[in-house]
Amino acid sequence: MVNYFSFSLKNLKRRGIRGWLTLLGIFIGIVVVIALVTLGNGFKEVVGAQFGVSSTQTITVQAGGLNYGPPGSTVVNPLDKEDAEAIERLSTIEFAVTRNIEFLEVEYNDKLVFGGVVSIEADSARDQYEVMDLESQSGRLLKRGDLGKVIVGSNYEDPDKNGFDREVTVGKNLLIGGDKFLVIGVLERKGSFFIDNAIMMMDQDLEDLAGYGDEVDIIAVKVKGKDLVEKAKEDIEKLMRNRRDVKEGEEDFVVSTPDALLDQVNSILTSIQIFIIIIASISIVVGAIGIVNTMATSVVERKKEIGIMKAIGARNSHIFLMFLVESGFLGLVGGILGIIFGVTIGTLGIWQINNLIGADTRISINFILILVTLIGSFLIGAVAGIVPAMGATKQSPVEALRG
């Protein structure tokens, strides 16, 4: 038995490029699976960060959802400040704050970008910061009376990320929607694309720029206790149905809990992963057929060798095992290469994501997956080798030696 393994390895070594090319299918399949799993977990963590999982007691209410206008119409019935006041009066609710988000031209260093600007209400500024879990890393946060002033997300400090080629710091002035605003604070980095790239100003200032009146984009609600989230969600839905006069199941607004949002995104990610894994499996199957092919060819090429071995005492089981082990090793080589490339691609991918959106997802290499892949790729190769190996045992020694 000892000799087989070294013998198989020797046989593998003398394989030409043609022999190795057949490993492409297995290689690609395994690269995809490994890269995806490495990336996929990273993705989920990044998505989690985007939704600020820390504030699990926060519910958001937005207008929209099912559309009952005539086909093609996108008119939505907006929320307003009174909705927020009504929600705040519910017994399960600690407070409700309103938020408007406008995309406005922001000018600095003679460069123009579009930036998301978030409103902060003078009366509920502290509650706003609480639901978004915000703190300043330099300067301070906005408070009542801070008209003409803004605070900016951490990416504004980075000249490579803010689009201005120069860092924006406390004391600098930005032209937003044509008006001048003084930066009085920079937010701590959140790992959330939205907040790290946001500008915040007083509601009164934003209303002056955008003119939304009493309408609000989002009502963020803090629930009295963690275990009350589901109950609060139901209360809000009931209240809003009454206020907007819609039936259950026909809501023109969406009440979302962070868990539900996360679940939704995760389920989309999962189905994408499943789809790609199916493609990868097809690639692996194609690769396995490739192995069947090369092994069958090498049985023919090594006909004489098989004959010699039988002449000097090889039983059929010896010949069978010899080819099976070699075929398994072939698969294993594809697996090892696939793992190396897959982990590399996944790691680079996460590194890119971290760079791009300023998240700091840890790179986690799944060693169990790697072990399973190693064993699996050997088995795929071995299974692919069964039929050719059986063919090898059928070789008659006399005929092989004549040839």
Partner: protein, 234 residues
């Protein structure tokens, strides 16, 4: 020389069907008894059935008709794998084309027949090295076959045939691919093995070679034994 029969072919025939009607009678009813410790040559013109009878004697092939006994045991009906194991243990083959495994070293080539018998690796190594030294290839053990001359390759093949210390050595035209001088060295080794008590059976179409070395010569023609000549032992 003992009088014990080691190989007995009883009315053995091997026919090959060519197409629908034609039949080639490669071996057509051979009876022979080879005694333990004999040096036998099988002679005859090309196509007379020498290689075919050799394959039958060495249990590489099964007869169309008749029975073959090895050490008194009928082996005509053994399974392919059991035959392989038996010949691995009892018979050592030497071929005209050397037939070494190209991507195994000299040492590994000699170890291979022992591997098939399940001998532990340290023992295989020891035995292989001992035989190779004896045959004068102690300094070539890590070479690959294509790094050796024809004569050296044939010596490796002889070493390999001895790996499991078989009772019978079968050599099909062992000098056919060698110049006469190297051929003589190889014949010298076969003589030595014979002197050690092994049964040597050699196929050749060179009458001088047969006459010089063999004690018993079977002359084949058209798949039949034409005559048997024996050399008196002094």
């Amino acid at each position: 020389m003992k009088n014990e029969v080691i190989i007995h072919l009883k009315d053995v025939a091997k026919f090959y069907r060519i197409g629908e009607k034609n039949m080639v009678k490669a071996v057509d009813g051979i009876d022979l008894k080879i005694k333990k410790g004999d040096f036998v040559a099988i002679m005859g013109p090309s196509g007379s059935g020498k290689s075919t009878s050799m394959n039958l004697i060495g249990s590489l092939d099964v007869p169309t008709k008749g029975s073959i006994y090895l050490d008194g045991k009928d082996i005509s009906h053994l399974s392919e794998s059991d035959l392989a194991e038996l010949r691995g243990k009892k018979i050592g083959f030497i071929f005209q084309q050397f037939n070494l495994i190209p991507n195994l070293t000299v040492r590994e080539n000699v170890m291979l027949p022992m591997d098939f018998q399940g001998i532990p690796i340290w023992e295989m190594k020891q035995v292989a090295e001992k035989i190779l030294k004896k045959i004068g290839l102690g300094d070539r053990m890590d070479f690959y076959p294509n790094q050796l001359s024809g004569g050296q390759q044939q010596r490796v093949a002889i070493a390999r045939s001895l790996a499991n210390d078989p009772e019978v050595i079968l050599a099909d035209e062992p000098t056919g691919n060698l110049d006469s001088k190297t051929g003589e060295t190889v014949m010298g080794f076969l003589e030595e093995l014979h002197a050690e008590g092994k049964t040597v059976i050699m196929v050749t179409h060179d009458p001088d070679l047969a006459k010089e070395h063999a004690r018993t010569v079977y002359w084949l023609k058209d798949g039949k034994i034409e005559k048997i000549t024996k050399k008196r032992v002094k």
